[in-house]
Subunit: 513 residues, 2 copies
């Protein structure tokens, strides 16, 4: 039953990223970065932010609501607990998280799709959590289970995404208390890549992990990460019991929680970047530490989601410059902790797959890539301030993820790439089109988008139909869905999963909120 | 007549960029970067690229065609000259360019608009050289002098551009041999920012500089940079006489030439990035050195324009990942030389101001910003592989340039931005909207685009008209042109310029090629 090889020991902690490394190693189904991270802040200023976070943790504290077991953990660890307010001595949480692995493997049901999370690895995962879906034909409407499956299929079909994601859109046609079963089953059934489970209630987290146990075998799950759960802080400085119970369920099962504050500067945090970063550091660090108190050595991902606000209208804004540059600082702080990082993604507030969508998306996505994020949630499909999952933007973003494979490969410097033989062959004033060096290298030389138009104007406006990128994306997602092939799944496992799901559903009345 | 203060001494050479600096200083009409450059390559690999360039220069050489004075310079400097082929001992050109300033001031007719070029300064200048213009109403057509003036007006009206540019589009309705006069006059008349002159013939370069002398006074021009000329290498490894004569005309007048190879990988250079970078380094270095042989100490800008090719169709591609990451290496090499850098810009091959345009544009523009480019030509308007200047993309790009002001300010870390008073005031579970810290900081906290839609979906689809960014840009450029006010110009100078232009035009028959 267990297809995944068991690799039990967490990797040794290491800092920094490789410089001038080779491109993505052949056969590795994720990116190994060939360029360093972009470190924008001095060590002195990083230390100031850490000290500010220490003061927040010691002087203001964090509330842990509706989870007595979490409070018991904190008491045993030596924190100051007064009611639900917990305060921490400086350095205490950094000491606790030192038992978490700096990198780990998330196993997929197809072991060829196992991903590393941490170090120099970069994993692209679809957007997460939209209640609506949209496309150019039908506009915006509530997501359904069929939409959910479609996005799982589109992700599975893309060579440039590495992960099936989680709540890729809300399947609003399924009862709230049952849809997690359909979502986890759909990830397993329609994809053979790694995936995420539910966190909206402790029992739904447990159900998600139980389904992973059916797929991989209970022993394998106890020794390896096979499912992620993305848990959110209720910023500022509040952890709700629903989240900490789910967080502890994942940690208890040796599965990785992703710990993510969502700070909209000016509302759930200060309007100034340094303060918002200090706050998110404190909130995330507390969540990461709680996983280690639940089970020492459990994998955990240091997460972050900075955003900004239009102070004219009060609306949240996405893909803006301040969160992008702030993400670089978050990356530096995560590396000082030696924890895998989730940060930023392909964010936009646009309601259409237009210029705004791709400009905001890339501003944000490049910050994820530059800051050293290892697990990049929201890599594809995000529109409308995360309220909508867009079919067109999904394939446009996936194409961009392809370009980022070439980008992250960096510049290789060796005798072949320096091309001295070509200069000696071609000389001044000639061209390189037919040179031996070109013939030897052209097939792998340049990223070639399947959605960008690179034709002469006359061809674009004539037989090309004068399309924009969104219209080409509209054609592409339909073609991809039409050609999609479901990856084979062992029938016994499939039946066991369906049986589990049906028993669970039968045992509960539908709940719609 | 001379409005510009005379600052004669070139700045001392310096390397590297500031870290954690404050944002754009008040009143400085360009950006002083508050984040470091993004250095992706190791010193060892940079040295390998330099050694490859040295071998190209020594073993293959560069042809200098149709310019005997340039060959004489090279002979006197000790290069090996055989016919038009010139070869250089390793290190010789680096020694020659060491007399060029690492940073200099380009003066504007309004001294409040003087820009620094070099060091930590970043100057945004419009796109350059398109024969066509386009907008959403009229589509693509040849550019006219009125289009040229419109783009000068749009640039002048934007608070986020710092420079009026040069051949902002080709005014195809004016004879080829006379249009440089109208272009230089239009920059002076409709803008009070720094600008560029002609390079398409030595006498047109001289005319451009003469018009600058009328504006600033001959003495001021001899002692200060007041005009730039952008000269191109005929890659691979050929400098045409038209270009070197113009280059020398600018240097002779103590004005800055921008030295730019345009290398389309696979055609005018190798398909591999390292080789294309080594070639462009050799070509640019030779051009920079020639300026110093013409006039020691003349300002010069180390330029670069990497591009890639669709190897399926043979078409050039723009805004792709390989040139973007290669630009970071070019920046590192320019800083080792201590020369001001022009690199990358807001490139795209799209025929519309759509998702492709903004994705490709930002990929390329962020590489310019990250690589430490000091003078960023093509910051606004570039579409259609530089064949078309787009009215809509111009204002979309200018808005993006505004966002990049906030981005380049970086993350300020001090007591105010760390916001400890806000955390102590707000505490867990409340919000920051009305806190004293928010009230104190909100006005300057976040970049607020004038073109991005940040409204709720219902408002966007209702009273907002469900527009995309291009439609909003279409409205904006018309409004900006309608509200444009011409900056005052001394009547005597205006008359002297018109008199010069009319005499020059009367002395030549029209030439249309």
């Amino acid at each position: 039953m267990a297809e995944a090889a068991a690799i039990d020991a967490p990797a040794r902690r290491g800092r920094g990223t490789r410089r001038d490394a080779a491109a993505k190693p052949p056969g590795v189904p994720y990116i190994v970065r060939g360029i360093p991270t972009y470190d924008v802040l001095s060590e002195e200023n990083l230390a100031k932010i850490e000290r500010a976070a220490d003061r927040i943790l010691a002087e203001v504290g964090i509330e842990f609501r509706d989870d007595p077991a979490a409070l018991d953990h904190w008491k045993r660890a030596g924190a100051t607990v007064e009611g639900v307010l917990v305060r921490f001595e400086p350095g205490m949480l950094r000491e606790i998280v030192s038992t978490a692995p700096s990198t780990f493997t998330q196993h997929a049901r197809n072991p060829a799709n196992n991903v590393e999370i941490g170090g120099s690895a970069v994993v692209f995962s679809p957007a997460y959590g939209s209640p609506f879906v949209m496309d150019l034909d039908r506009g915006r409407r509530y997501g359904t289970l069929e939409d959910f499956r479609n996005f799982v299929r589109l992700a599975q079909a893309s060579p440039w995404l590495h992960h099936s994601g989680g709540t890729i859109c809300e399947p609003v046609d399924v009862p709230v208390n049952k849809r997690h079963l359909d979502m986890v089953y759909s990830h397993i059934r329609y994809s053979d890549r790694p995936f995420m489970g539910s966190i909206t209630a402790e029992e739904r987290a447990e159900d998600s992990i139980d389904m992973a146990r059916i797929l991989f075998g209970a022993d394998v799950v106890d020794r390896n990460c096979v499912i992620l759960g993305n848990v959110n802080v209720n910023s500022p400085l509040v952890w709700d019991g629903t989240m900490t119970r789910s967080l502890r369920a994942y940690a208890r099962a040796n599965q990785a929680a992703v710990i993510v504050p969502f700070i909209l500067g000016g509302a759930m945090g200060p309007v100034t970047n340094a303060g918002a970063i200090a706050q998110s550091y404190a909130e995330t660090l507390a969540g990461c530490a709680l996983t280690q108190l639940e089970r020492k050595g459990a994998p955990v991902i240091f997460g972050n989601f900075l955003s900004s606000m239009s102070l004219r209208s009060g609306s949240p804004t996405f893909g803006t410059p301040e969160p992008a540059i702030g993400s670089m600082v978050v990356g530096q702080l995560a590396r000082r902790l030696g924890l895998p990082l989730r940060c930023a993604g392909n964010f936009s507030n646009s309601k259409l797959p237009d210029g705004q969508a791709m400009q905001e998306g890339l501003m944000s996505m490049l910050s994820a890539v530059h800051c050293g994020a290892n697990f990049i949630l929201h890599s594809a499909g995000f529109l409308d301030g995360l309220l909508s999952m867009s079919y067109e933007k999904f394939v446009m973003d996936a194409d961009l993820c392809g370009a980022l494979h070439s980008y992250l490969a960096g510049v290789t410097v060796d005798d072949n790439t320096l091309a001295m033989d070509a200069f000696l062959e071609v000389g001044p004033g000639s061209h390189f089109l037919g040179s031996a060096h070109t013939m030897r290298n052209y097939q792998s030389a340049f990223w070639d988008s399947t959605l960008s138009d690179n034709e002469p104007f006359e061809k674009w406006s004539g037989e090309g139909g004068a399309t924009d990128m969104a219209a080409r994306a509209n054609r592409q997602w339909k073609k991809t869905l039409a050609e999609y092939e479901v990856p084979p799944l062992d029938i016994a496992i499939d039946e066991a999963l369906c049986d589990y799901m049906n028993r669970k559903k039968a045992a509960m009345a539908d709940a719609w909120y």
